[in-house]
């Protein structure tokens, strides 16, 4: 039975809630069960942002995540705050601007230039969330790429479809192209 817990973290405005929703919807398209939730409360205003997704083959009872299987962190603050909530042997996907803590053992780390790719390569920081989604897909294979694309297209504003599709694929590329080339995976 598959049961995977995702925590996407960063700052407000990076579109992580939307990313969480899209990830959940993609899983839904494949007939899976999902629960998506996000942080409300003072943090939500302060600039921090957190979205959580559980994907499972069977019905999800307890809807909260304590420790997660996959942690995405787009800011140093988010990384510092949430790194301890990643399970042993969990997957960490971080923007490569973030300096990693030394105590991260038994964790699969993917440090990739998400923000940079967004602003430099695609030309807008707005799509960092899509790049992140692509990278999550590539690392975890939790949903098929078609499902993810379909979910993205149903959620993004008209006229931005191509841009977002490109970002998604860039995210996949960031993972696939660096696989084997660097050795962060286990540190």
């Amino acid at each position: 039975m598959e049961y995977r817990e995702f925590r996407l973290t960063g700052s407000g405005g990076q579109g992580l809630i939307l990313a969480g929703i899209i990830l959940a919807e993609a899983a839904l398209l494949e007939g899976k069960n999902v629960v998506q939730s996000q942080s409300y409360g003072p943090e939500a205003r302060g600039g921090a942002s957190k979205a959580e997704v559980i994907i499972s083959d069977s019905f999800i009872n307890y809807p909260k995540i304590d420790k997660c299987d996959i942690l995405l962190a787009l800011t140093q603050k988010a990384y510092d705050k949430y790194i301890d909530t990643l399970k042993d042997n969990g997957v960490l996907i971080v923007d490569n601007g973030i300096s990693l803590n030394n105590n991260i053992n038994n964790i699969n780390v993917f440090s990739i230039p998400i923000l940079n790719t967004a602003s430099e390569k695609i030309g807008t920081p707005m799509v960092a969330n899509m790049i992140a989604l692509g990278s999550i897909q590539a690392v975890t294979d939790i949903v098929k790429m078609e499902s993810l694309e379909k979910a993205v297209l149903s959620r993004v504003p008209k006229g931005t479809e191509e841009l977002n599709r490109r970002a998604l694929n860039e995210g996949v590329g960031l993972i696939n192209n660096r696989k084997g080339t660097l050795n962060y995976e286990t540190c």
Binding site: P42, R45, G46, G47
Partner: protein, 269 residues
């Protein structure tokens, strides 16, 4: 480190405050404190009462007697405090929603009684705390999360309302004209009676974003451009007035104050 003014009157260990980047609340709050400093009041004699909202969180940052009440009821709590101890300078900090939506009744009745409370409304034209719903101060046509197609309500002229209800000092200013806030709060505190001070401030996060008003600087610039001193405003044509808003001291009246009247009544016995 902070300035001497902030250091003297704020609970500095609680800074930075929770307000968003560019939120105008901090400007209004500093202006209030500056007015208090100018008047040389004793901190122990000041009681700041607020309701619930982003703006109403202000009370927590100030090193006075501070009471953060329930949504809309700050003036009713303040009435109990002031009436109990008339020696206190009671200042109410409230938002446009807190003061004019749920709290509208307490506003008009505090004004009617002419009780010696200085009320400063942080009018950001929106419910900030709950995420951008339109308020009784959201201009007609503007958007909020509960007015996705534009607000069909008319917004209050809060100063007119306070005046009609009986306030004896009524003024308006903006965060651009922050020196004017300082002056008005001084005058408001000095006025022995109900003082109503509307400060136009900005919520870039919700009102700004929902209504494409640009960033904080754009919004302050807009306040700068649209606010006109009352004396100048009165000389404008109706057409010119349409997109302008008068600021300054709008109304004053002399009338015995509530707690003083009660004290004289007690002297009968």
């Amino acid at each position: 480190m902070v300035s001497k003014l902030i250091d003297k009157y704020y609970r500095t260990d609680r800074l930075p405050h929770i307000w968003c980047t560019g939120c105008g609340n901090g400007i209004v709050l500093r202006s209030i404190v500056k007015a208090i400093d100018n008047l040389g009041l004793n901190k122990d004699d000041i009681c700041v009462v607020s309701g619930i909202g982003c703006s109403s969180r202000a009370s927590g940052y100030l090193d006075f007697n501070t009471v953060h009440t329930t949504h809309g009821r700050a003036l009713a709590f303040a009435t109990g405090i002031k009436f109990s101890n008339p020696n206190l300078h009671v200042i109410v900090i409230t938002g446009d929603g807190d003061c004019a939506a749920i709290g509208g009744n307490h506003l008009i009745h505090a004004a009617r009684r002419n009780i010696d409370i200085t009320t400063v409304v942080f009018n950001n034209n929106i419910y900030g705390m709950t995420g951008g719903q339109y308020s009784p101060a959201t201009p007609t046509g503007d958007k909020g999360t509960t007015a996705p197609y534009g607000n069909i309500d008319y917004n209050f002229d809060l100063c007119e309302l306070a005046k009609a209800a009986g306030a004896t000092y009524v003024s308006r200013s903006t965060i651009y004209a922050a020196n004017m806030i300082i002056k008005q709060v001084e005058e408001g505190i000095k006025n022995k009676g109900f003082s109503f001070i509307e400060t136009l401030t900005i919520c870039p996060t919700y009102y700004g974003r929902k209504n494409s008003k640009g960033n904080a600087v754009d919004m302050v610039t807009h306040l700068k451009d649209s606010a006109v001193n009352i004396s100048a405003y009165e000389k404008l044509s109706e057409e010119e007035k349409a997109n302008r808003i008068p600021i300054g001291e709008l109304y004053k009246r002399n009338r015995p104050e509530y707690t003083e009247k009660y004290e004289s009544m007690m002297k009968l016995f």
